[in-house]
């Protein structure tokens, strides 16, 4: 049984090519390759070397078209026992190959060659080719006459030509030898025997039989030689005779042999032209060949020798002949039959050859799985032989099956496949390729094959192949391998690695599964912004603009959305997060892992990491871009288990996709408990030339600035250029929430510092004003009840951001100006971490209104402002407030309106509140307004932590001096003409005016606070005041139309005579006990008209005692009076005072209260509106404040 058998084999002259005296295998292969090219020598070309010594037996030799064919057997082969049966099995020529420089003595070479040729007894021609002889060797006389042929040193082409000539010479010699042999055979009585023929004692019968058969066998052998001589017609003639003879002698074996020869002759005759008729003929004849080989099976020597191998060989020859896709059925049938037959072959190597041939033929047919199956059978046969070379063969054969079983090493797939896929992802095609990736995954088989490869590689002593197989096995099938098995593979990996030199690379990755986790975005400190050179604000348009997250217009653009783009800067370190997973039961030590960069413009830094069993880890891999251009990062280089491998992200990605579709056994990351991660697409990364880099630093620490609500503070931000390129453009803008809390930014400072050279620094000032915490914020803070809530506040992102867009020069200095796109700019985001603490919190505001009755005295009735009476009630705490009490010049009494603000200090510091009222100067109150702000500005209310305090704000000074129609004019109009068209309009107007005046009022009130040494601010309580004042604003703002006042008539007063000085007046007033019982006391009532029109009225005066009883009328009157006290009709001109004099006589000393009231006749709209009366005819009643009168019993 021989490999490579085909029908044409019968026509090939077998030539042994043997190395003579030390030829290195490499050189031998090289020389042999030159020789192998001359496997066919046309008869035409050898005619010059051929001399016809006698009449050629090959009468029909096609000298024009025929050829001799050689089959070179490198290294030679032992003689076959079947040489007689098939002459092509004989070694008919021997060619020695000698490399002269390594064999100086040509004589010994010649001797060695002669010795070597002795083993090839059947050889007819021997030649030894000696290559590259030295000059001395060329001149060596010993060579002459021997078979040694020297090839003078020359170039390859010349050598090849020389060789061709020599081969032609050999061919011619062989042809002549064949002729000689055939002539001899025809005449002589050569005995042809095969191992099939009984070797035992030849009985007489057998001898006779053999003699009979001899002729037929001779004819067949002659036919064989005709074939070898390239003369199919002659061969056919001889074969026909042989067929006849062998059939007659029932020599089936030789019959089949002759038949085979005849088929070969037929094919040779047709010169390779195939047609269906020929095919049928060949098929028919070969079937008969197979049949006859089978027939020749003799039971008695079946143990020793059997024609089975010839039968199988014939079957394989036929299969090879038919081997075409269209005839697959026939071929499969033949090969299956061969495989069946192979089981009964005795010789293991025959079996091997049969399986090899079957596998090859199936492979040729395109049946790769079948081929792989039989290859594996071959490998198993090899593995049964327990030696290293068999193991190597097994390993190589198994390596061929890996493609069919889809377990090929990545090295055998080739890089071109991979490169094609990198850019073709996305969309449906991607999905398809995923499915095809998992196509034909028979995990059981794959594991078996890989295990066998591992086993054979270990036996063959190929550590790299073993490592690779173990890595593939572990990586792909870890879920199917028991922990013990996993440990075994781990050991296999480690053991293999020990035998490998340090730094060995393997194309098949082993364990840690590596996937891309994320690309950390540039920190906001170094954001890169595309520069639009056409615009002044070059950063605009770089970020997605417009209010829509999704715009239908961007839809058309080819998936821009999922193709992330990243920009890296030369010289600035970058980071990539990858996730590693070790789903196996042993610890994986990754000695180093770093980014694999195919574009070569990134220096990646290795990291060492250890992964415990069944765990996953996210690690940061970093690198520094070195050159501008595109960066592609297809994966990581991992040094693990002693071997360096490249892990591609894409493979793991497809594995994960396969896992989600149930195509793969398990997701290594999921089984390790890693979080589910969306597939991260590899972004396109561009490296740009160096950019400036601003680094910001907030003076006083980068922590958040703690501000109480309303606090105003300056923050100093220093900006330094940490890059290598100067900053030439810079622009500051604000973004984020609470932008209005940034009062000023000193952008001029920055602008004036441009260009900012590398290393330079500039400090800019930002003035901040803390905003008010919203209701919910403060509520939340309150509910949490701890200061820690302020930290949460800061993280809410309620702080404003300072954006600084800056860029370097438009063109890099070294380069020409033709650069199309300018280098991008950058954006520095400085979060102004303002942590607003709840400061003084406002609890409530209310309007307090009280009236302190005035005391009647001559002095006090003048326009005095201060009352220091009631000293007996005054305690220390009120003393200050006393100063606030002002007499109302228009009312005459101590009418007091105070806005009381209740403030609560929830913080842990002390606050000092300070109320100030900015009063505009009014005509009547020059003296008052001059000192009022000073007076009210001074006192500070200290509010301790967790205490509530009240601050009073006097509102008296806001009274308008005149009750004016202008103010209520609209109002009166409204009342006068009800239902008028402009009703609503005017109402609106009023409201607007009213609101305006309220606002005006409120804006004058400022509550400033101070806490500690350096925090101060203002309380924003406008809304609260407005709410408090809304109801009674008219009362606060507008004076009464009439003011009443009592005083003692001058005549009756003695002790007070100097009305000039206010202070003295006050004093006397305070101490004055000027009214004495049982004396006629002259008094006068003053009525002042505060309007701009004269008022007619009916005035009446009443006096009440302590009990509130009217003491002037009735039967128990205790006060006698003189003059008119009721029904006094008078008219007061506008803004004038009218005096009415009367006298009282008090019978009993004590406290009395004087009241004046007036009924206004013909009230105009202003008055009516002020009095809030609706009816037209209703009289307006105006009552003055009460005045106290103390009547002493004795002087």
């Amino acid at each position: 049984m021989e490999p490579d058998a085909s029908i044409e084999t019968s026509s090939m002259i077998r030539v042994a090519v043997i190395p003579i005296s030390d030829v290195t295998p490499l050189l031998f292969r090289d020389y042999a390759a030159m020789l192998l090219r001359h496997h066919t020598v046309s008869l035409n070309s050898i005619s010059s070397f051929y001399t016809e010594h006698q009449k050629s037996p090959f009468a029909h030799q096609p000298w024009e078209s025929g050829s001799l064919r050689f089959k070179f057997i490198l290294g030679g082969s032992p003689p076959s026992p079947w040489e007689d049966f098939q002459s092509n099995r004989k070694i008919l020529a021997v060619i020695g190959i000698c490399h002269c420089p390594s064999a100086p003595d040509l004589r010994s070479v010649a001797d060695q060659f002669t010795a070597a040729c002795k083993t090839y007894s059947s050889s007819l021609v021997q030649r030894c080719f000696a290559f590259c002889p030295g000059d001395s060797q060329l001149e060596d006389e010993n060579v002459k006459g021997s078979n040694l042929i020297l090839f003078p040193p020359a170039d390859r082409q010349t050598q090849e030509f020389h060789l061709q000539t020599m081969v032609q010479d050999i061919a011619a010699s062989l042809l002549m030898e064949f002729e000689k042999w055939v002539l001899q055979a025809e005449s002589g009585g050569t005995i042809f025997k095969t191992p099939l023929d009984s070797q035992a004692s030849l009985s007489s019968e057998e001898v006779i039989k053999a003699k009979k058969r001899r002729l037929g066998r001779a004819q067949k052998t002659i036919g064989d030689y005709c074939l070898l001589a390239g003369s199919p017609v002659d061969a056919n003639a001889h074969y026909s005779t042989a067929l006849e003879l062998t059939r007659l002698t029932a020599d089936f074996f030789w019959y089949a042999g002759a038949m085979e020869g005849s088929v070969c002759a037929l094919l040779m005759d047709r010169m390779g032209h195939k047609d269906p008729v020929l095919e049928d003929e060949v098929k028919y004849r070969y079937n008969s060949v197979i049949l006859h080989y089978r027939k020749s099976f003799i039971q008695d020597n079946a143990q020793r020798v059997s024609p089975l191998s010839f039968e199988l060989e014939a079957t394989l020859k036929l299969a090879r002949f038919l081997c075409r896709r269209e005839l697959a059925n026939d071929v499969v049938e033949l090969l299956t039959a061969t495989a069946d037959g192979a089981t009964s072959l005795i010789d293991a190597s025959d079996k091997l050859v049969v399986y090899v041939e079957i596998a090859r033929l199936f492979g040729e047919l395109g049946y790769h799985r079948k081929a792989a199956f039989f290859s594996r059978q071959v490998a198993q046969l090899y593995l049964q032989q327990d030696n290293k070379f068999a193991a190597i063969s097994a390993m190589q054969v198994l390596a061929m099956t890996t493609k069919a079983y889809r377990v090929q090493s990545r090295a055998s797939i080739g890089p071109s496949n991979d490169a094609g896929q990198t850019h073709a992802d996305g969309g449906k095609g991607h999905h398809h390729s995923i499915v095809s990736l998992f196509e034909s995954q028979w995990s059981t088989l794959q594991m078996v094959v890989l295990r066998e490869i591992l086993l054979s590689a270990v036996r063959a002593g190929d550590p790299l192949a073993a490592w690779s197989a173990a890595a593939r096995l572990l990586r792909s099938y870890y879920p199917l391998i028991t922990p013990a098995g996993q440990n075994g593979l781990f050991n296999a990996l480690v053991n293999s690695a020990e035998r490998l030199p340090l730094g060995t690379r393997c194309s098949d990755p082993a364990l840690p599964f590596v996937r891309l986790h994320s690309f950390p975005l540039h920190s906001s400190q170094m954001d890169i912004v595309k520069r639009n050179p056409a615009r002044e604000d070059w950063w605009a348009g770089a970020a997605p603009s417009g209010p829509f997250i999704y715009t239908p217009f961007s839809k058309g653009e080819p998936n821009n959305s999922n193709k992330q783009e990243l920009t890296w800067v030369v010289g600035e370190p970058v980071q990539v997060l990858v996730e590693l997973a070790n789903p196996c039961g042993f610890e994986v030590m990754v000695e180093s892992i770093y980014l694999s960069v195919h574009s070569g413009n990134l220096d990646a830094f290795p990291v060492s990491v250890s992964l415990p069993p069944n765990s996953s880890k996210v690690i940061t891999l970093s690198g520094i871009p070195t050159k501008e251009g595109l960066v592609s990062i297809p994966g990581c280089i991992v040094h693990c288990f002693g071997v360096i491998t490249e892990h591609f992200f894409k493979e793991v990605d497809s594995l994960l996709i396969g896992a989600t579709q149930g195509l793969v056994l398990s997701d290594p990351f999921r089984s390790c408990g890693a979080a589910k991660l969306k597939n991260v697409l590899l972004p396109s990364i561009t490296v740009v030339p160096p950019l400036p880099l601003l680094v910001s630093h907030i003076a006083g620490g980068d922590g958040s600035v703690m501000l109480y609500e309303g606090e105003i503070r300056d923050v100093w931000i220093s900006l330094a250029n940490a890059g290598t390129v100067p900053v030439e453009q810079a622009h500051i803008s604000l973004s984020g929430k609470n932008q209005d809390s940034v009062v000023t930014v000193a952008s001029e400072t920055l602008r004036s510092a441009l260009p900012l050279k590398p290393g330079a620094e500039v400090t800019i000032r930002v003035t901040l004003k803390a905003w008010q915490l919203s209701k919910t914020d403060s509520d939340a803070a309150a509910s949490k009840g701890m200061p820690g809530s302020s930290a949460r506040q800061a993280k809410d992102g309620s702080s404003p951001l300072l954006l600084i867009h800056y860029a370097g020069p438009l063109t890099t200095p070294g380069e020409p100006e033709t650069v199309s796109a300018p280098p991008p700019g950058r954006r520095l985001v400085i979060p102004l971490n303002i942590c607003v603490l709840q400061g003084l919190s406002f609890v409530k505001a209310r309007l307090l209104s009280m009236e302190i009755p005035a005391r009647i005295g001559e002095a006090c009735s003048r326009q005095a402002q201060l009352e220091k009476g009631n000293t007996e009630q005054v305690n220390g705490s009120e003393r200050q407030a006393d100063r606030l009490v002002k007499i109302d010049p228009y009312r005459g009494s101590w009418g007091l309106r105070l806005l009381e603000l209740e403030l609560y200090n929830p913080t842990d510091v002390v606050f000092e509140a300070n109320v100030s009222v900015d009063v505009e100067k009014t005509s009547n109150q020059e003296s008052l307004s001059d000192n009022i702000s000073a007076e009210y500005g001074e006192p500070k209310t200290r509010i301790d932590r967790d205490y509530t305090a009240r601050v009073l704000i006097p509102l008296e000074n806001f009274k308008l001096p005149v009750l004016d129609g202008s103010f209520l004019g609209n109002c009166s109009q409204n009342n006068g003409t009800p239902g008028s068209r402009n009703n609503s309009f005017s109402e609106k107007n009023i409201k607007a005016e009213l609101n305006a005046s309220i606002k005006n009022l409120i804006s004058k009130i400022k509550v400033r606070w101070q806490s500690g040494r350096n925090s101060s601010g203002e309380l924003d309580i406008k809304d609260a005041i407005q709410a408090a004042l809304q109801a009674s604003v008219m009362d606060v703002l507008l004076p009464d139309p009439l003011t009443f006042g009592f005083r003692l008539a001058k005549t009756s007063s003695d002790n007070i005579n100097s009305p000039g000085k206010v202070d003295s007046e006050v004093k006397t007033c305070a101490s004055g006990d000027s009214i004495i019982a049982h004396e006629m006391t002259a008094m006068e009532v003053l009525v002042r008209n505060n309007t701009k029109e004269a008022i007619r009225m009916n005035l009446s005066i009443a006096c009440k005692d302590v009990a509130g009883e009217n003491c002037m009328e009735g039967d128990k009157a205790t006060v006698l009076w003189e003059g008119v006290l009721s029904g006094i009709s008078m008219e007061v001109p506008p803004l004038e005072e009218v005096k009415h004099v009367f006298s009282l006589y008090f019978l009993i000393p004590g406290e009395y209260t004087m009241l004046a009231a007036a009924m206004i006749y013909d009230a105009n709209e202003v008055l009516r509106a002020r009095a809030r009366s609706d009816a037209l005819d209703e009289p307006i009643f105006c009552r003055g404040p009460p005045y106290h009168v103390r009547v002493n019993g004795t002087r």
């Binding site: 049946y367 199956f373 196509e439 059981t444 078996v448 149930g662």
Partner: protein
């Protein structure tokens, strides 16, 4: 009942989605692999033969040693493959038809992703019962 039989379902994408050793003789693990190898190799022939006939049952299309491969190809090109050593064509045909029916029922399950492994234990039990009945 066959002494050795290995039944497999191979999906359209040549991925085995169900496998069962339905033989009576307890075998070594090695043999089980061998069975799968034979079935895997037979796919080459199935792929050619399937298009030459309109019948779903392709009879025995391949053999190795004394093991025969019978194949039944569904309309969706899912292949039911049986490796056996007996020659009971009728029984095998009935077996295939019934398993096909079972497989269709599995396919109708909305939670079953066509082309993925059949993991239903019910299916497994039924197939083994059918194997006992017909093979």
């Amino acid at each position: 009942m066959a002494s050795t039989a290995c039944f497999m379902i191979v999906s359209k994408n040549d991925i085995p989605i169900y496998e069962a050793e339905v033989g009576t003789v307890p075998k070594k693990e090695d043999a089980a692999h061998q069975h799968q190898f034979i079935l895997h190799a037979a796919l080459d022939i199935v792929q050619d033969t399937a298009w030459t006939t309109s019948a779903m049952f392709l009879k025995s299309i391949d053999r190795f040693n004394d093991l025969v491969v019978s194949v039944y190809v569904t309309a969706g090109h899912t292949r039911l493959m049986l490796l056996h050593d007996s020659r009971n064509d009728d029984g095998i045909k009935s077996f295939f038809q019934e398993v096909h029916e079972l497989y269709i029922k599995t396919l109708l399950n909305p939670l079953y992703l066509p082309g993925s492994r059949v993991t239903s234990s019910h299916f497994d039990t039924k197939v083994r019962a059918l194997a006992r009945k017909y093979l």
